[in-house]
């Protein structure tokens, strides 16, 4: 690699990047500021720029006015199930597409990749009719099952496994008389673990943030965090601080996870992009 190629960033580049990082994070900080002040305090000129201890009072008010505890638990269940299901099912299919030969393999893989471009969100009307027929409206399985697999996940795992798992190793297992499932469990799964972790995190994040279908399939009686937030934002709440406190409660859990594991999520998104 030539030294000329890797250009060092100058002060201008750093300034732009720092400003961008600030713009990216500032609205979240401002949420904490609003959540600490009454409407009257926010109306002052200049407005207050720091969060205060009042935020805890407003966080409690938000918990009282919106079913946020239930929403957090529901979101944890929904996003957890979807992340687990996606990771498991997509690793199974990804393994088959990467390492097994079977009739229709190429065609089915091409089909799977093509469906990544299909806006399945546009199918919510029949999906709603189906869920209504099953009497699942307002039940969590209505939001778990439709999103428990993803074409992206299959593609992601296939790309990883076809590179990371040496075919010779599988063949050795095969010659020794191990069943395909045995091979999957004791050879493929351990190798697949880092990619599964990344896919799980990405899926959890997307499931936690999913909006359109949950708002159709659930009500504020049994909401996910996003449904509860929508209810809070569109209902009559006189103090803005309470709305923002609720927003913080619904957002901070993912942001904490993100701050801790963001490096890997960044890696996962970039990894998925190169192949895509």
């Amino acid at each position: 690699m030539s030294a000329r190629r890797i250009l060092r960033a100058g002060p201008v580049s750093y300034t732009i990047l720092v400003v961008t990082a600030l713009i990216s994070v500032f609205p979240l900080y401002w949420t904490a500021v609003i959540a600490s002040h009454t409407n009257n305090e926010m109306a002052r000129t200049p407005p207050p720029f720091w969060p205060t201890g009042n935020i805890f009072h407003n966080l409690r008010l938000a918990m009282d006015q919106a079913p946020l505890t239930k929403a957090l638990v529901n979101s944890l269940i929904v996003a957890g199930c979807i992340a687990l299901g996606t990771t498991l099912f997509c690793t199974l299919s990804g393994f088959a597409f990467a390492k097994l030969s079977f009739r229709g393999r190429r065609g089915l893989l091409a089909f799977t990749i093509a469906t990544m471009m299909v806006p399945t969100q546009l199918g919510i009307i029949p999906l709603f009719m189906l869920v209504a027929k099953l009497h699942w409206v307002n039940h969590l399985q209505a939001v778990i099952l439709p999103t428990v697999v993803s074409a992206f996940g299959v593609f992601f795992m296939r790309q990883f496994l076809s590179q990371a798992v040496p075919t010779e190793l599988l063949e050795a297992g095969w010659v020794d008389g191990a069943s395909t499932f045995r091979i999957f469990r004791s050879i493929v799964l351990p190798i697949a673990r880092p990619a599964m972790a990344v896919l799980g995190m990405l899926t959890f994040l997307m499931a936690w943030n999913d909006f359109f279908w949950p708002i159709v399939a659930l009500t504020t009686q049994n909401p996910t965090v996003q449904v509860a937030l929508a209810g809070l934002g569109t209902g009559y709440v006189p103090q803005q601080a309470v709305i923002m406190a609720g927003t913080l409660i619904g957002t901070v859990p993912v942001l904490i996870v993100f701050a801790l594991l963001g490096r890997h999520i960044v890696g996962g998104i970039m990894q998925g992009a190169i192949k895509g």
């Binding site: 401002w30 009719m129 099952l145 697999v149 590179q163 010659v175 990344v198 943030n209 960044v266």
Partner: protein
């Protein structure tokens, strides 16, 4: 980047010095069991994604009431003729288009520039990447509620800054263009960092030989960007344009929550009602699921046409 640490099989372009005669012995692992591995994915995908998506076309030929979703009455094409004679459809189409343009174009240009900077040798590069992805981790609901505060007419921070700078306060919700710009800014805020990372991944995949050759030929930094980076990124750029187009056509959560009162009309004079929001209004405010299905299928056709145009433009530019 983090997950390629496991030893990969040697790429075909770089065979080892002494390579044993090796045939592709995939057949050894061929098995009927393979279908059992792909079955869970395809069964769930068919039941909950593919079937509803296709069945939308059938529903759009029926009258279906939200309160009795299993009673369907055949009405033929009338949902479509009604839609084409509905002024709110044309309004929503126009809004979706304008919001789509003013959110996607600046967003992708910014992302390209940021990716270029992120590709420099940087101190603390992980910090910038994670910070830029924070908005992506923030949900549509949360970010729209936050921005609705920032764009508040009387006490919003943005209007305070504008008035300090000597401008008039802007009515970000009720104005036609202000509301569309505000919604576009929410979309831009959420997605720029994500797209920058996609571009960065594409840039890192461009061979350094090309840059070295360009440097030898005396190309300036800008010329390198223009004649090496951009052509190398073309497939990635097309990919992000297609994904953004699909996303912009379905825009829903931001205009729903930006109104702030739970109405589905997209503002008092429908100034920011998008196709996604119109579909939701038809189905879940007005109870006409059949009409909503016709709108959904129309949106799909629009997406197909737009994607084909994008692809054709990309092809045309490459051949010229």
């Amino acid at each position: 980047m983090t997950i390629t640490t496991t030893p990969a099989t040697a790429p075909s372009s770089a065979p080892p010095a002494i390579s044993p005669p090796r045939r592709r012995r995939r057949t050894a692992l061929g098995s009927r069991a393979a279908y059992a591995y792909i079955a869970p994915f395809f069964v769930l995908f068919a039941a909950f994604s593919l079937y509803p998506f296709i069945y939308t076309a059938w529903v759009s030929m029926h009258e279906v009431d939200l309160s009795t979703p299993n009673k369907m009455t055949w009405v033929g094409w009338s949902n479509y003729t009604k839609l084409l004679h509905n002024e709110f459809f044309w309004n929503a189409l126009k809004n979706t288009f304008t919001i789509g343009i003013i959110s996607t174009v600046p967003q992708l240009c910014l992302a390209l520039g940021l990716a270029h900077l992120l590709n420099y040798k940087l101190r603390g590069k992980t910090f910038y990447r994670v910070a830029m992805l924070m908005p992506y981790a923030t949900s549509i609901a949360a970010s729209t509620l936050i921005f609705a505060q920032l764009f508040g007419r009387d006490y919003g921070l943005i209007n305070w800054v504008l008035s300090e700078l000597g401008f008039h306060r802007v009515d970000w919700v009720n104005g036609h263009w202000p509301s569309q710009i505000a919604i576009s800014l929410i979309v831009t805020w959420r997605w720029t960092g994500y797209n920058a990372l996609i571009y960065l991944a594409g840039m890192q995949a461009i061979s350094t030989d090309l840059y070295e050759a360009a440097v030898i030929d005396g190309a300036s930094r800008w010329q390198q960007f223009r004649y090496v980076t951009i052509p190398g990124l073309r497939p990635t750029i097309l990919f992000t344009i297609v994904v953004s187009t699909i996303g912009a056509t379905q825009l829903f959560g931001e205009p729903l929550l930006f109104a702030g009162d739970g109405t589905t009309s997209g503002g008092a004079s429908h100034q920011f009602q998008t196709l996604g929001l119109l579909m939701y209004q038809q189905g879940w405010t007005n109870f006409h699921l059949g009409q909503a299905a016709a709108t959904a299928w129309t949106m799909f056709l629009i997406i197909v046409v737009l994607v084909l145009i994008n692809t054709a433009l990309a092809r045309g530019r490459r051949s010229s």
